[in-house]
């Protein structure tokens, strides 16, 4: 019996097929004529799209099929999980099947006051932060045109292990890798994968290290190859925003006021501040009080006191402030697909001001130097 044309209601015998379907390995779709194929094309091509999205490279979550991306960044396959040797002390979530941190959840239920760390605890956190700095510097050196973000993850992971530190992101609420790498429109929490960095990318590397029972947390955004002027200005604005906020750190400053200056600097540079993610207390716990929103007019609780330790990590966007989360439940991207940049330090409030626990070597006060970020 002769095969019939695919076009609904046509019913004529057909022997010509769609070339794309053949290429995609689909069951043959036959049409009686080019005219009939053309008329059915708008419906037919949807089939190609559906199949193509389902056939994306292996290692990509099925949830991404049909996902509407905001920009040009796409997920790439992940490498096999990396393991931290058992002799390295691990935070409680490291071995939880869902990566939950019992200590953090308990803290959230009960603790409302901002911890004031003793001199001895500060020493421990300082050490975790110093290691974090070394690890970020190593990870940053791995960023270059053609390197994958997974390669940065490998370097970061090994740098942690060499120093006897656990990479804090690993298995934290099931985050699959040891560092966050957020490229271009990715705001934060990007998962290192097989994507190669391209000439002109901006790439944030966010390192957290757990050592001696304490976490340290810092990040920088690197300029990969020839980044355009707009991208360079964005990265500098993100740096200046953090710098301006850190300048306010001293006893008596209200946490809610940091967002005011960050918002001001961003606005002056025609940028927007991401509102969904905030800075956080850090120490024995990866994330604890205070919560530090980076946008103006927030109701954040608390006044800085000597011995408080927290991060400030404003995420600055070229376009709108709104974010979307990819179906991997981690990667946060800008809603308009335009680029985002970020810098972060872990900061101790001292009697007279602050100490950058994650400072670059010989740079106790943040100093803009684009060359240090160029890759």
């Amino acid at each position: 019996m002769a095969e019939l044309c695919e076009t609904p209601g046509c019913g004529k015998p057909a022997s010509m097929g769609c070339p794309t379907c053949i290429k995609l390995g689909l069951p043959r779709s036959l049409y009686c004529s080019q005219e009939c194929f053309k008329s059915h094309w708008p419906q037919h091509k949807a089939l190609h799209k559906l199949v193509r999205s389902a056939q994306e490279p292996s290692g990509i979550l099925p949830a991404f099929s049909g996902y509407s991306y905001t920009g040009s960044l796409r997920p790439a396959p992940l490498s096999a999980p990396r393991v931290v040797p058992s002799h390295i002390p691990r935070p409680d979530y490291a071995d939880h099947p869902l990566g939950h941190s019992a200590s953090e959840q308990g803290d959230k239920m009960t603790n409302t006051s901002i911890p004031i760390y003793t001199a001895k605890q500060v020493e421990g956190i300082r050490e975790a932060c110093r290691i974090g700095r070394e690890v970020l510097d190593a990870g940053g050196r791995a960023a270059r045109v053609g390197a994958t973000t997974d390669e940065i993850d490998r370097v970061v992971h090994e740098a942690c292990v060499e120093r006897g530190a656990y990479p804090s992101p690993l298995n934290y609420y099931q985050f699959p890798k040891s560092v966050c790498t957020s490229v271009n429109e990715a705001i934060c929490h990007g998962i290192p994968d097989a994507r190669e960095l391209s000439d002109g990318d901006v790439c944030n590397v966010d390192v957290s290290t757990y050592f001696g029972g304490f976490h340290g947390d810092l990040n920088e955004t690197f300029l990969v190859g020839g980044v355009d002027d707009e991208g360079r200005a964005l990265v500098k604005t993100a740096f200046t925003c953090l710098q301006a906020a850190i300048n306010m750190v001293r006893p008596g400053t209200m946490y809610r006021d940091l967002g005011t200056v960050i918002g001001k600097v961003a606005r002056e540079n025609n940028c927007q501040v991401v509102r969904t993610y905030c800075g956080h207390g850090i120490g024995a716990l990866f994330h604890t009080v205070p919560n530090i929103p980076h946008y103006p007019k927030n109701k954040a609780k608390g006044i800085m006191k000597p011995g408080h330790i927290f991060t400030i990590e404003p995420m600055i966007n070229l376009g709108v402030w709104q974010d979307r989360t990819w179906p991997d439940n981690w990667t946060s991207v800008t809603a308009d697909g335009r680029r985002s940049a970020q810098f972060e330090h872990t900061i101790l409030v001292t009697d007279t001001g602050y100490e950058l626990l994650t400072a670059r070597e010989n740079e106790p006060v943040m100093t803009w130097n684009e060359a240090l970020l160029q890759r």
Binding site: Y172, R256, T260, T276, C278, K297, K299, Q322, G337
Partner: protein
């Protein structure tokens, strides 16, 4: 760029006006047996055209998110019986509470709801859950905190107040109190209870009900956290607190001694006008009104944190260098100062009136704290010499 208009450009999100179109969230509290469920059923069966989602805790006494279920108010069908699992990925370093994110996700998935009522368990402290829904406008959430409503059982509340701390706490947090089961007690008793409740919380409206029958516009869409309505509430609450004479005859406990600790001492406000000394023997929870004739310096005010045991704050402020009225609001451990749309009338006395509701409040300290925020140019508040308003306002 190009003038090629063949294809429509990609749309970008447009910020909406803060709070506009956001789904109101009412927090419903009240002791077991007070009539919370009756109120809920009453609201759900009225002809209001609203699709209401009800969040209840069916299992335990804690406001534990893992034990919350969301129901469709129309037919009682379960929308999600384990809100915890709905949580959308990462919770670390996000601004919003899990419960807020979860409900936003729920709304996104089923956008047909236009009201949410969160029913807390009998013993819950409504403070933390209210605070987590009192979101910064900047977040442009799909949700907005509307009001805290507490249902009180006229027959048993006096006993509960004597026996437990939570009963007074729930009353202290309320924007609106429903004095329910009024048919079971005498009119005189209702009046006496109303006074006693006002002694605890002079800043809320009290509605006397029978089987929770009440106009819906007195429980839904009250916009109690809107700056303009807070200004009005603070003004009337300050008056109410001032008018409340010590209602000694209302104390159900005849043995009770009215010592200093329960705040019966005559309190003078800084402006020299006497505020009432409410009966606060009920777990030491009471309302204080403080009036300042001088303009307030917002920078100083921002830096003076309210006392820990303050549950609610409602205040209207005359601010140095501004002709607009400002409001000070506080819930649980959050507070905020916002400009209202209303300006002071030319002949209106520019008085700052702040009402504090809390436990064991130290009037002296609160007043001292507030007085410490008086602008340098005191005595001539209108001159507004100190016009260095921070731009966050």
């Amino acid at each position: 760029m190009s003038d090629d208009e063949d294809e429509a450009p990609c749309l970008v999100p447009v910020p909406s006006a803060p709070g506009a179109g956001a789904v109101p969230v009412t927090i419903l509290t009240g002791f077991l047996g007070s009539g919370k469920t009756t109120l809920l059923n009453y609201v759900l069966t009225q002809d209001h055209g609203k699709r209401i989602a009800v969040i209840e805790n069916e299992f335990g006494d804690s406001m534990d998110i893992e034990q919350l279920i969301a129901k469709d108010g129309m037919d009682g069908s379960v929308l999600a019986d384990n809100l915890f699992e709905l949580r959308n990925g990462c919770i670390c370093c996000t601004v919003k509470d899990d419960l807020v994110t979860t409900l936003e996700t729920l709304l996104q998935q089923r956008s047909k709801f236009d009201y949410i009522i969160i029913e807390t368990t009998g013993l819950a402290n409504p403070g933390p859950v209210a605070a987590c829904f009192w979101l910064d406008d900047a977040l442009e959430s799909a949700l907005r905190l509307d009001a805290i409503i507490t249902v009180v059982d006229a027959k048993n509340i006096a006993r509960y107040l004597d026996e437990s701390r939570e009963a007074a706490l729930q009353i202290a947090f309320a924007d609106r109190l429903l004095l329910n089961k009024s048919d079971l007690v005498s009119a005189a008793r209702v009046a006496a209870l109303s006074s006693r409740l006002r002694g605890i919380n002079a800043a809320c409206d009290i509605e006397v009900t029978h089987r929770c029958a009440i106009d819906l516009d007195k429980v839904l869409d009250l916009r109690c956290f809107h700056a303009d309505s807070t200004a009005a509430a603070a003004t009337s609450a300050a008056a109410a607190a001032a008018a409340a004479a010590a209602p000694v005859e209302l104390c159900s406990d005849a043995e009770h001694e009215h010592g200093d600790s329960c705040g019966h001492g005559a309190a003078q406000s800084s402006s020299g006008s006497s505020s009432g000394a409410p009966c606060v023997h009920t777990s030491g929870v009471s309302t204080f009104a403080i009036t300042l004739t001088e303009a307030v310096d917002l920078v100083a005010l921002d830096a003076s944190r309210p006392h820990r045991t303050v549950y609610r704050i409602k205040g209207v402020l005359a601010v140095a260098g501004s002709d607009k009225k400002y409001v000070l609001q506080g819930v649980h451990d959050l507070f905020d100062v916002t400009e209202t749309t209303a300006a002071w009338e030319p002949d209106e006395p520019r008085l700052s009136k702040v009402v504090f509701i809390g436990r064991g409040l130290d009037r002296g300290k609160l007043e001292e704290g507030l007085r410490g925020c008086v602008a340098a140019a005191s005595g001539s508040p209108q001159s507004g010499t100190k016009s260095d308003l921070p731009d966050r306002l």
